[in-house]
Subunit: 161 residues, 3 copies
């Protein structure tokens, strides 16, 4: 059972103008890892707020996995990838690549997502796009990878401890 943090990044959602459908969906999807949500928040598309929560979910809550939804597009308000990049120790480029390349098959527009995944300490952080449909599709793409990635990341840290 993996411990999971879910961070919804949405100006409209955090202003109360939109239900957090994607965040709710992620709560359900992570059960299949199997995973247990320890911490959840919804915040606006602000680099500093995102950084702060990613650090808190990783270092404070010691989540095995942190999933974000929202802010991965190419508009000026989309800053999730930059915020994520700035807090990870190293990137796992294939996580973003495979979501885009597999996503393109169903919907070519998926390729403009700038979502990334990487490791901070003992926490795997992965960005998902904001729409529920994209969350579901991307989760399915990564489902065969996430448990293995967490095990490799954690196991290896213990090897070296």
């Amino acid at each position: 059972m993996y411990t999971v943090g879910i961070l919804t990044i949405s100006d409209k959602g955090s202003a109360g103008a939109r239900e957090d459908e994607s965040g709710r969906l992620l709560h359900t999807l992570v059960e299949t890892l199997p995973g247990k949500v320890m911490v959840y928040k919804m915040i606006p598309d602000e680099v500093e707020a995102i950084r702060e929560e990613l650090v808190s979910f990783s270092d404070g809550w010691k989540s095995d996995l942190v999933l974000t939804t929202g802010g991965t597009g190419i508009s000026l308000r989309d800053v999730t990838p930059e915020a994520t990049q700035s807090v990870i120790d190293y990137l796992i480029p294939g996580l973003g690549e495979i979501m885009r390349m597999e996503g393109y098959k169903k919907n070519p527009r998926a390729v403009i997502s700038r979502a990334i995944g990487g490791v901070r300490g003992r926490t795997l952080i992965v960005n998902f796009p904001g729409s529920p449909r994209a969350v579901r599709e991307n989760f399915e793409i990564l489902l065969p990878v996430l448990p293995h990635a967490i095990d490799k990341m954690k196991g290896s840290v213990e090897d070296c401890g």
Copy 2:
């Protein structure tokens, strides 16, 4: 109707030793976006010249889309990706990835293209390889993506204006 700039980058072409077949092909292809070519130039494979034109096509001509052809390979004279990287505000990694991954299916050698795409202000800049065949193939790969990407990029800037 999107406004388009086309920049052909070729030592031989700009020295008059080769027809700009790829640039001409791009003029035809962009009509299908639908797009209208506002500015076109052919220049040698020089980082400073490329940077200067990309800035002029974006900030001066205010193109929605700038397409380059040439200089994306792995020889010492191929500097288009570096020049492009140095003028964009942020990268859209999936544009280069999908051209390489879809291209590999038809021609494995497509994977050594270092073409990138990204955003400068309100302009989407995308590199294509130099050969007419590669230009046509890559344009077809990106055709279902480009109008959406321009709309997202521009729409969002207006949202935040």
Copy 3:
């Protein structure tokens, strides 16, 4: 006939606790390029040691191609991509991308490899994962690309010399 260097990166192997099955396999595989192994070493997962050998295999031995195996995963001891990145003149992003994207089809876990490929001087350097199975699969993915990439890289240097 291309000149090749093979560098096995393995803590266990270099401590004598494991046979270098992947290195031996690479010796056989490169014959099909066709290639001839000029230099081979096995070293631990240490950034400085990897950097030193990559520079020696490239600048000293003047290999056309240097293949590494091992250290491309996401554990703390996996530092091959970082060491490689630090000695190359420029990255060829499609080499890592295609190994991950084609690899995912057979084994989704392949996407967490952080392997990269790039150019140092007149040498093409490419990382492979550590397991013999992954070495074989990734070599097959890149086989239709490597000779062309070496020719382009070398030919172009000569063009400009």
